[in-house]
Amino acid sequence: MTKYYIKRTLFGASLILGLLVIIYLLVYIAPGNPAYVWAGRPRGPKAVEAIKQAEKELGLDQPLYVQIALLTARFLTGDWGVSIAFKQPVLAVVARSFKATIELLTLSYILAIPLGLMLGIFTALRRGSSIDMVLKITSSIFISIPRFWFALILVLVFYLAGLQPLGRIDPRFSIEIKEVTGFYTVDSALTFRLDILLDVLVRLTPPALVIAVYPLFSIARYVRYSLSERFYEDYVMEAISLGISRQAILARYALRGTIPAVVQLAGMNFVYSFVEAAVVEIIFMREGVGRILLEGLLRSDYPLIVAVFFVVSLTLVIVNTATDVIQKKLDPRVKI
C-alpha cells in the first residue's frame, strides 16, 4: 500500500515537470519574437524598453539549458512576472481569482457527488419503470444544455425578476470582509458575519448549481448503469438466495464495487468542470479564472495566461493524484 502511494506521488511530481516542459514550449514557440509577445505586444515610446525587460525575464540572451533552468526555477518559486492587464505581480492576481474558482467548484462538487449517487441508486432500483424513463429523459436534456447557455438564461430570468445575484460579493461587504484565507465563505464564517455569509452564499449557489449539473448527471448515469449490471452478478444472486436483505446487499456488496469508479469519474469530470467554471464565472460576472482568461485574451497578457495555465494544470495533477490514492484506499486491487 505505502509503496503504491509513494509511486503515485512521485509520478504526480514527474507530471509537474512535464507541465513545465509544455509551458516552456508554449512560451518559446511564439512565432516571431517571444519577448514581444511576453511583453504584451507593446507599442509606443517605451516599447523597446519593455521588450528588453521581457528578454531579460525570459533569459533569451542565455544558452538553452540556462533558459530551461531559469524558467523552472521561476515557476517553482512563484516568480511569474508582472501582469500586463492588472499591473500587479501575476502571483497575487492568480491567487485571488483562483481561490474564487476553487470555492465555486468545491460547492458544486459537494452538491453533485451525493445527489448524483442518490439519483443513480434510485433509478437503478427502478430501472425500466416510467419514473426511470422520465429521469433519463430529464438527465439527457440537462446534460445536453450547454451550461453557459443555461447560466445565461438564469441570469436573464434573474434580471427580469429584478434580482441580481451577480458578482462574488456585495460591493458594500467587499471592504468590510476580513481576508483570512481568501475564501469568502470561510472568512465570513470565521469572523461570525452571518449577513456576509448569506450574501456570499446567495451569489455562489446559482453558478455552483449550473456547474454541478454535468458531474451530477454523469455520476447518476454511471451509478445507474454500473449498479444495474452488478445486480445480475453471481455474488448478488447468491446473496439474494441466502436471504440477505436487499438494503444490506445494496449497501454492502453492490454499491461497493461502484464507489471507486465514481471517485475516478468525479476526478475526471473536474477537468471538464474547469472549462465550464471559467465560462459560467464570466456570465455571473464573478472574479475567477474565467475573468483572468477574459482579461488576458483582451490585453494579450501572456504571463498571466501562462501562470493560470500552470496553476490550473497543477491543481488537476493534485486532484488526479488524490483521486487515485482514494481509489486505492477504497479498492485495494488497483495497480499502477
Binding site: 453557459f148 438564461i153 436573464l156 448503469y225 446487499i249 472549462v275 495555465f309
Partner: protein
C-alpha cells in the same frame, strides 16, 4: 474474444440501435442539422450576412426583434440571425467532427503502439497520456490564442491535444489484453513484423470499442468546442465567423436588450447536443450485454 467476434459485436450493436426510438430521433436530429449545414448558403435568405459580411441593407435595418420577416431577429449590426445560425451549423458540426476524428486517429494509433510495443514506447506514450489527459483545453486554447491569434484552428488544435489522450488510454488498455491472444502470438511466431501485427491484428480489435466511446463523447466535445468559442466570442470586438458558441458569447453583452442574439444559437446548440446524446446513450446501452437482458427482476 477472437477478432471476428468483436467485429460482429460492433455490427450487431448498430443493428440493435436502429430498433430504438431514441437512436432514430438522434439520427433524425443530426441528419437534419447536417442537411441545414450542407444546404446552408443556398436556402437561407441572406447568405452574405450569414457568413459575416455587414451589408448596407443590414446596417440600415439595425437590430430587430424576431418577426415574420426575420424569424430569429437581427443582430446588433442588423444581420439576419436565421442565416447566421443556419450557416453557423457548418462551423460547429465541422469543428466537432474534426476534433472527434483527429483525436480518434491519434489516440488509437498511439494507444495501440503503447500497448503492443511495450518498453520505452509504452513508458513514453503512457506518460504523455497521463499528462495531456489533465490539461484543460480552455487554457491551451487561451494560450494559443494569444500566441497565434484566436481562430477555429486554435480551438480544434487545443481540443485534439486533450481528447486524444482519453482514446489512447482506452486503446492502450484494450491492446494490452489483445496482445495476449493466440492469434497475435501465432502471427508473431510466424515472423510478422511488429508494426504489421500492431496494425493488422491489434488495431482492428481495439478500434470498435474506442469508436463507440467517441460516439458517446461527441456531445461533450460539441459543448466544449462551444464553451471555448463562447470565451473567444465574448472578447472579440467584431463578430464575423457565425459559430454558435461565438455568437452566444458575442450576444452575451447585449443579453438584456437583444436577448435573441444569444438565445437562438444556444437553442440550436441544445438540439445538436441532444442529438449526439440520444445516439451516444443508445450505443452505450446496446453495447453492454448485461443491460440488454430482460431477465426476471431479481433486485
Amino acid at each position: 474474444m477472437s477478432q471476428r467476434h468483436t467485429d460482429i459485436r460492433g455490427r450487431n450493436t448498430l443493428q440493435r440501435c436502429w430498433r430504438r426510438v431514441d437512436f432514430k430521433v438522434g439520427i433524425a436530429i443530426l441528419a437534419s442539422l447536417a442537411l441545414i449545414a450542407i444546404l446552408g448558403p443556398r436556402v437561407v435568405p441572406y447568405p452574405e450576412e450569414g457568413e459575416g459580411i455587414v451589408t448596407d441593407a443590414a446596417r440600415l435595418r439595425g437590430p430587430q426583434p424576431p418577426s415574420m420577416k426575420y424569424l430569429f431577429g437581427t443582430d446588433v449590426v442588423g444581420r439576419d440571425m436565421l442565416s447566421r445560425v443556419f450557416i453557423g451549423s457548418r462551423y460547429s458540426l465541422l469543428q466537432t467532427t474534426i476534433v472527434v476524428f483527429g483525436s480518434l486517429l491519434l489516440g488509437i494509433v498511439l494507444g495501440v503502439l503503447a500497448g503492443y510495443l511495450r518498453g520505452i514506447y509504452e513508458a513514453a506514450i503512457n506518460y504523455a497520456i497521463e499528462l495531456f489527459i489533465l490539461l484543460p483545453p480552455v487554457m491551451i486554447a487561451a494560450a494559443l490564442s494569444v500566441v497565434i491569434g484566436p481562430s477555429i484552428y486554435t480551438v480544434v488544435a487545443s481540443l485534439i491535444m486533450t481528447w486524444w489522450a482519453w482514446y489512447a488510454r482506452i486503446a492502450y488498455i484494450m491492446s494490452r489484453q489483445i496482445r495476449e491472444f493466440d492469434f497475435v502470438k501465432v502471427s508473431e511466431a510466424l515472423g510478422s513484423r511488429r508494426i504489421y501485427v500492431a496494425f493488422r491484428h491489434i488495431l482492428p480489435n481495439v478500434a470498435p470499442t474506442v469508436i463507440m466511446q467517441s460516439i458517446v463523447d461527441s456531445s461533450s466535445i460539441l459543448l466544449e468546442v462551444a464553451a471555448i468559442n463562447f470565451l473567444i466570442g465574448s472578447v472579440s470586438t467584431s463578430l464575423d465567423a457565425p459559430e454558435w458558441g461565438m455568437m452566444i458569447g458575442y450576444g452575451f453583452r447585449y443579453v438584456t436588450t437583444y436577448w435573441w442574439m444569444s438565445l437562438f444559437p444556444g437553442f440550436f446548440l441544445v438540439i445538436a447536443a441532444l442529438g449526439f446524446i440520444l445516439i451516444g446513450d443508445s450505443v452505450s446501452e446496446e453495447s453492454s450485454p448485461n443491460l440488454r437482458k430482460r431477465w426476471t427482476r431479481w433486485f
